[in-house]
Amino acid sequence: MINLLWSGLLTVLLLSGCGWSGTPTRGPEGIIPLSSIAIVPVSSTIAAGTSTTLTAIGYYAGVPSDITKLVTWSSGNTAAAAFNYTTAPNTNRVTGVAAGSAVITATVGGVSGTYPLTVSTATVTGMTITPANPSLASGLTQQFAVSGTFSNSTTQDLTFDATWGPTPGTYATVSNDPASKGLATALKAGVETITATFGGATPATTQLTVTSPILQSIAVTPANSSVAGFSKTVNFTATGTYSDGTTADVTNTATWASSNTSFATIVSTSGVATTVAAGTTSISATLGSITGKTNLTVTAPVLKTDGLQISPANSTMSLSSGTTQQFTLTATYTDNSTQTVTSISSWSITPASTIATVNTATGLVTATATGIVTIQASYLGQTVSTNLTITP
């Protein structure tokens, strides 16, 4: 009882004894008064027709916290700069309408912060898409960005402001949705030209090479199966799921393994497992860098009633022709399968005497005198016996 209590005490201490070590998910807003707000732009000057995002940093007793999602944005001069988007994630995106300046204000809980944003007359002179000429497996996505060079020698991210193509193409499609601008999805193997268009500049292009779908995961079936008995076989199947959502049988191309071959072995090329002893092993199928696993539980077989047979039964041996006799034990299970269990049974001899002895592990009887003895063998809770008559 004391040991049980100690174990429980240690378990609880391990689980909760050190307290919470997680990362907070909320700021101090609503609890500590907000003293000031600072606005941090990606670009302090933007060209007319382009946009940029702003970040609002709130200071609570001197400690900064990102409150971008909490503030309300406004422009003091909507003829120069305006907030055109009311839904996330673009509520903090300000667009340059025309050359000029505007005081941007972020407000929450009666506290405001301001920032003077300048909108220039610069025009775009060139654009570059990154990453350049990537490869992508069918079904996967790639986020593209486009950077513009302007007539005043500045550069600006135009990913949101550019128009992307193709939508859709033969091999890939690129999103123009405000929530996912420039996100390409590979459709099928081939080469697609990705374009970004803005202003009067020559559209930027890059080549996206879409390759065949790649293996993403492997499912092994039957999942978490249980088998009663030893030397039984289980045929496992591996099904691969690819990046384009298709599936294929990879049983014969995967490499199979059993984490504990004491409980079950498996043919590495076919997924055929053979049970060995009671226990649980993890069966894995690996193809390339992808592995799928499931557990195989082997339980002890269940003997039939009177399921043990010892041989030879009621035999006679003559000391003149030899002093040893090997006995064997055969088990019959509830599924009518049989197994020789001589070496995994327990052997004994009665009455214990000097007439004969038996190796308790192997069933080998050694006779030393004449007489009659009873040989017993036990396995899985059953015992069977037979007489042995020893003659001169």
Partner: protein, 216 residues
């Protein structure tokens, strides 16, 4: 603390001069314990998310009334007792996403537990014990603050439990000194923030206690 030190010193010195225990006490007893507790950093949750409350070590006091089982009791050697404890935990700091802020105020736990202790005894006056306790606790947030601003207040009655272990010295047949450790926890108490929203927090504490039990 200045008043507690002479008491602890007296209890410890008494061990040097006491004689071998004569016989194991069984029957009713009462006792008193004093000690310290450390409330573990607590995950606190309100409508806007999670943040962490960290506490400084605090003091605690307990009173117990129970029954020592007779040596031939069929359930084994041990005792059963009713324990009232008051634990006080000063708030040290509050950690949000942006950083940590100075905290103030106390979180107080008044608990009433039914304890079951198993005892390992031999002919020595020393014995060791371990056990569990279950009951209820009233958690009170005594105007806990962060940077001078009220964080939460109110009280909450919750299910409470403890796991305990320790050593026991039988000074006489009727007087035992006890040095023990307790892990005390509860279901999450709920308090009220300034704006009326609910604040829910974890409560797990480590406790070390020294006390005496008097049988009669």
């Amino acid at each position: 603390m200045k008043r507690i030190s002479p008491i602890l010193l007296t209890l410890c010195l008494s061990l040097l001069f006491c004689s071998q225990a004569k016989a194991q006490h069984y029957g009713p007893y009462v006792g008193a314990f004093f000690g310290g507790n450390l409330l573990m950093p607590a995950k606190s949750t309100d409508d806007l998310g999670n943040f962490k409350l960290s506490f400084n070590p605090g003091l605690q006091g307990s009173g117990v009334a129970g029954w020592d089982f007779a040596p031939d009791n069929p359930v084994g050697q041990g005792r059963i007792e009713l324990e009232y404890t008051r634990r006080s935990s000063p708030l040290d700091k509050v950690t949000f996403t942006g950083g940590s802020f100075k905290g103030a105020g106390n979180l107080t736990a008044d608990s009433l537990l039914l304890n079951f202790f198993g005892v390992l005894r031999d002919k020595s006056p020393w014995s060791q014990y371990a056990g569990v306790g279950f009951g209820a606790a009233r958690m009170t947030a005594s105007d806990i603050k962060v940077t001078g601003q009220s964080l939460a207040s109110g009280s909450s009655v919750v299910f409470a439990y403890q796991l305990g272990a320790g050593v026991d010295y039988a000074v006489t047949d009727y007087l035992n000194l006890d040095l023990g450790y307790r892990f005390f926890g509860s279901t999450s108490p709920k308090f009220t923030e300034v704006d009326g929203s609910k604040l829910e927090m974890d409560y797990y504490s480590h406790n070390v206690v020294l006390g005496m039990r008097v049988g009669f």
